[in-house]
């Protein structure tokens, strides 16, 4: 028999659990639809049966699903979840609803690293070959992170210093990207612009595996500190008095966020709004309890990118529609409507 205390507590978490289940189902359906939609249209049933038992299906369908569309659809799911969790945690530790990996200049740094590789073939790792762009993007994300950490360390990891440093780096790397675009040839410029808009076209099983492994390693590291992260909402002083090492926690989260963001953007380019909008919706639905806020942000991020991928393919049936444009086109009106409705206390 359940105690009255447990029943009160269950009343609080019941609805949050329900949201998780509903959005998990929505993500699964969007995932199947994302695979089904394309230049050669498939039914959701064909997709499902091909995934479950590939040997029973048409070989052509198998190739379309397993070799072409499944890695891209999975990449949308993983990258969406990674960027949304990264955004959710940046917003949490900086206590700023406008914060995202972009705010900290991490994505802009990745963009600069990629552009550097495209224009000059300059990489931080010699002889990296075709993956030079991704490696450069990853490493420059970490350079951006290191600068933030260094300055934050000097100034006791305060929220304000992190935001100011991040925004400064954002402008710096954007200016450097513009400089590279100015110096680039037409062909290089096209590559840079395409990379900056983001795309799942270069996704493969190996990129899916890398992003997935990073995601399942990093997210539990954040999840174990769920209560401490939630307690940051009480303010730094209160959190410290509860025995939480706020500076250490903040630095740990920044490291995790950087790895998540860098691993996502280095393969698919900079995709806007996924780090900003899904965490906001998750916060409206579940509140600040990070045990639900983190997974729901991840699910909403996956859903957001899958829908953007589907939308992109519908709009541009034969070609490749940059995913960054689709996310911004969906994200901006949605985000503005959230602000206007002002349903959340976090605005």
């Amino acid at each position: 028999m359940k105690s009255a205390n447990r029943e009160t507590y269950n009343a609080i978490i019941k609805q949050k659990s329900l949201y998780l289940i509903c959005f998990a189902i929505a993500v699964f359906l969007a995932f199947l639809t994302d695979i089904a939609v394309g230049s050669s249209s498939l039914s959701v049933y064909d997709v499902f049966s091909t995934i479950i038992s590939p040997h029973l299906n048409n070989p052509n369908t198998n190739i379309i699903v397993w070799d072409f569309r499944l890695p891209k659809a999975l990449m949308a799911i993983i990258v969406g979840a990674s960027l949304a969790v990264a955004g959710a945690e940046v917003q949490t530790i900086l206590d700023n609803p406008l914060a995202s990996p972009y705010t900290l200049g991490i994505s802009a740094a990745a963009g600069f690293g990629a552009a550097l590789a495209v224009v000059f073939g300059l990489g931080t790792i010699p002889f990296a070959g075709s993956i030079l762009v991704s490696i450069n993007a990853f490493i420059f994300s970490f350079i951006s992170f290191s600068i933030i950490c260094l300055i934050a360390k000097i100034k006791n990891a305060s929220k304000e210093i992190m935001i100011l440093t991040g925004v400064s780096l954002l402008f710096l790397f954007q200016a450097l990207i513009s400089l590279l675009e100015y110096l680039a040839t037409d062909e290089q410029l096209q590559k840079i612009v395409f990379w900056l808009f983001g795309s799942f076209e270069n996704s493969s099983w190996s990129t899916v595996l890398i992003c997935f492994v990073i995601f399942i390693v990093i997210v539990p590291l954040l999840a174990i500190d769920s209560w401490k992260l939630t307690a940051l909402k009480l303010g730094d002083e209160k959190a410290k008095s509860l025995g939480i090492n706020v500076e250490k926690l903040r630095l740990k989260v920044i490291i995790c966020v950087t790895i998540l963001t860098a691993s996502a953007v280095c393969f698919v380019g900079t995709i806007g709004f996924v780090g900003l909008v899904p965490p906001h919706i998750a916060r409206i639905l579940t509140g600040e309890d990070q045990r639900y806020f983190i997974p729901l942000s991840a699910l909403l991020g996956s859903l957001f990118l899958s829908l953007a991928s589907i939308g992109g393919k519908i709009v541009c049936h034969k070609g490749v529609f940059p995913i960054g444009i689709a996310t911004s086109m969906i994200g901006v009106p949605f985000f503005l409507s959230l602000i206007i409705m002002k349903r959340s206390e976090s605005f």
Binding site: S3, N5, R6, T8, Y9, E237, K240, I244, E345
Partner: protein
């Protein structure tokens, strides 16, 4: 509980807040009073472990550095000047957060019971499922006090707990603090600007001025015209009411010692 502060020094960057401070507290409710920038809040934060001063804190004859971290967290509880929540949480969740450092992913029965007991003790069970953002200022403060009590602390540190509350809530809050302190056998230290509340509810008053302890003792021995004039730079009339409690009526600021005016303009 007996609290001893020995050779306490603290600086913000290069600005010295207090130097080689020493005092002892044994009474139930101690009011920490003094003008702005006297160092009251900083002192509370140092005792609460939010800031790391030089010197030693002794709880019941034992140096805090010799306590295990989990015991030290249970021992003292701190209510900041502006308790706030940015975001949406229910009252039940906020009370759980009072144990944030030791909670597991699945909240165990003992922790749920601790929350339930405090809610019942303060008579606010009906607020359990309400969002903190829906509550009035007085109710919010009650929730934060409940959160402070969740670990059954021996030392309760409160910084301006009546800020923003109307007169009725101020009195109700202090009556509650008095009741809790007595019933739970705690030591409570409250930083306050309201001298009359301090005089009425505190057993002991510590007067701080410019980072030093100016005076310490019972309300009637500390709240004298000389103290008020020297520390606050004002003329005040002090009378003793029928309960033997000093009553301070501010008259005017002393212009030539008008540190407040200088600070303001």
């Amino acid at each position: 509980m007996k609290l001893e502060i020995n050779n306490f020094s603290f600086s913000y960057n290069s600005s010295l807040i207090f130097n080689e401070m020493n005092f002892k507290i044994e009474s139930k409710i101690t009011a920490l009073i003094g003008p702005n920038a006297a160092g009251k809040s900083t002192l509370l934060k140092c005792i609460a472990g939010v800031l790391d001063p030089k010197g030693t804190i002794i709880f019941d004859g034992k140096n805090v550095k010799s306590f295990e971290k989990k015991d030290l967290i249970r021992l003292r509880s701190y209510l900041p000047q502006e308790s706030k929540i940015t975001g949406s949480l229910t009252v039940f969740e906020i009370l759980l957060l009072g144990m944030a450092n030791s909670l597991f992913w699945k909240v165990n029965e003992a922790d749920l019971e601790a929350v339930s007991n405090v809610l019942k003790y303060l008579g606010i069970e009906d607020l359990a499922l309400r969002s903190i953002n829906e509550l009035s200022g007085g109710q919010k403060q009650m929730v934060f006090i409940a959160q402070s009590l969740i670990r059954d602390p021996k030392l309760l540190l409160m910084d301006e707990p009546t800020n923003g509350l109307d007169l009725k809530y101020q009195l109700e809050l202090f009556e509650l603090i008095q009741k809790i302190t007595l019933e739970k056998g705690m030591t409570t230290i409250i930083a306050l600007h309201d001298l009359n509340l301090a005089a009425r509810f505190a057993d002991n008053i510590v007067v701080m001025s410019k980072g030093e302890i100016y005076a310490s003792g019972s309300p009637s021995s500390v709240l004298t015209q000389k103290t008020i004039e020297s520390v606050y730079g004002i003329n005040a009339r002090i009378s003793i009411d029928e309960d033997g409690v000093p009553w301070i009526k501010p008259i005017n600021s002393i212009k030539n010692k008008g540190s407040v005016a200088k600070n303001l303009f």
